[in-house]
Symmetry: C2
């Protein structure tokens, strides 16, 4: 008999130095740092909705944690503790071992401790809850963008959506482009270091999970401002730059979700600081627009004409 | 178009006074109390595994939170913040409103704030993560039971399992017994006040979710002791006391999960303190055994004979 307790014990109970009590009691016990706010987030990945019905387990373990760490990054937080609820239709030990490896590899990279959770039987689904810490009242929020701020983004956008379109045969990526886009889709990198570097620099931030226009819209709505984005300035992978006016590429760049780059606003004059952060992290940071009076999001081409960005974004109940 | 954002906004975004930032950003922001440990737990309820495929939504909202608050109670913690991940096959607004009511009614009773979460599309499943606080190093753990301690339990055991057997036609409950057992199964009461009252009194504690013998076994294993339980002392509802030797009732009392009473150990001589707690809370507390040298759990009848309690307990991968 393989029991719930065995599964947790065998695959998900590596020692958690940062916890007073980890997996194995009714709940985990941890000690929060004084002078800090706690940052809490939770995301679910469901088979068939967020990934194929037969996903590569190591990538799934990575991604289920990555999307949550990305939310902490968008708040400028240092990740500390995570809980994992995994629902499985049956027990496949090889699958579980690979899933656990993908999960722990990323957790260790960011010194995050898995301190608890639950395993249950049912259709494959993974929920991760992550808690981080940020200096009191210093978190990067969505509601603090101000008119006159600049809009910036990390990395390249559209990569995950391009990989998906490649797999569907809607376009063809090659070599390093295919490799990079596939990594963005399957094993995205949460921008943890960038988020922490932006504390005290950025006025607002969000991670690009729904798509650039949709996520810019979240900042606009919560801050009571308008985001004006210059499409030609939005960075995409080199291999599609000459195709940037094609609809399939434009949709990927503007509305493709799952990029997990950070979109943020900074007061004018922070370029020097951002260049230094970019150099230190080896991560491109690009100014793509500005915050103006109004509401919503406008996307302009390089002649100042309006691009119809559509409703944009990925919406689980759309 | 009903979007994820609309759903959260409409059903799950009541103001959370105890949070600096609740639903609506990348993550929630809260402030932990100085001198306290954080207590974290997460449980998933899956359709078909933990409840029928067509559950009563208000009860489900209550229970999904209750099972997590019960884990905090078992640690002696004061519940503070919860996150909710709900996966739905489709959007039924009446259903969601009833679910939210069941959830919030219980949350408000214990001054718990829903500060974040996720809604996704897929087979019905609910994961709740709850965070509480307890004075530093004062949490009730499973691993501190000592030889010579007494074993106590709150309320009555087997009620939820008896309700389930009634519904299956395996036995017949009537009147107040049926009512009480049905409440235990559908809308269990987490023993929050009791857990906090036991801090500094109990040496160990657990909530009875897997079944009495199984949960006593968890304390025995983690504490390196043996739990000896006297079956005739184990409290059950009045209506089945004359049937206590029948197998179906005995199984419900010893191995029925889902009771969410607290099982705890106290050093000898704490009876006066426990009687005072019992009177204050209006909740029965009963001594049912003792902690001895050895390992595992033994159940005795009133003549000191051994009762075969079986493997006992509910195990999601059994």
């Amino acid at each position: 008999m393989t029991s719930e307790f065995d599964l947790i014990g065998r695959f998900f109970s590596r020692a958690a130095r940062s916890a007073k009590l980890g997996v194995g009691d009714d709940a985990a016990l941890v000690e929060a740092a004084a002078g800090h706010d706690l940052v809490m987030t939770m995301d679910t990945l469901v088979s068939g909705t967020h990934f194929s019905s037969d996903p590569e387990p190591r990538a799934l373990g990575h991604k289920s944690l990555a999307v949550n760490l990305s939310d902490l990054a968008a708040m400028g937080a240092r990740p500390r503790w995570v809980l994992l609820a995994i629902t499985l239709s049956d027990v496949d030990e090889e699958w579980l071992a690979a899933f656990a490896q993908g999960f722990y590899d990323l957790a260790q990279r960011h010194d995050v401790a898995l301190v608890g959770g639950d395993t249950t039987r049912g259709p494959l689904s993974i929920t991760v809850m992550a808690t981080g810490e940020v200096a009191a009242d210093k978190a990067l929020r969505r509601d603090r963008a101000r008119v006159g701020d600049e809009v910036w983004v990390s990395g390249q956008l559209g990569s995950a959506a391009l990989a998906l379109r490649h797999r569907r045969g809607e376009l063809r990526l090659k070599g390093k482009d295919l490799e990079g886009c596939s990594m963005s889709l399957d094993m995205p990198t949460p921008r943890i270091e960038l988020g922490q570097a932006l504390v005290g620099v950025a006025s607002s931030a969000i991670d690009v999970s729904d798509g650039l226009v949709a996520d810019a819209g979240h900042i606009a709505l919560r801050s009571g401002v308008k985001m004006e984005i210059c499409y030609d300035d939005v960075p995409a992978i080199a291999g599609v730059m000459h195709l940037k006016q094609d609809k399939v590429v434009r949709d990927a760049v503007l509305a493709g979700g799952d990029d997990y780059e950070l979109l943020f606003t900074v007061p004018a004059g922070a370029t020097g600081q951002l260049d230094a952060v970019s150099a230190r992290l080896g991560l491109g940071l690009t100014r793509i627009g500005r915050v103006i009076r109004g509401s919503g999001v406008t996307v302009l081409d390089d002649s100042g004409g309006l691009i119809d960005a559509g409703a944009g974004g990925y919406d689980h109940f759309g």
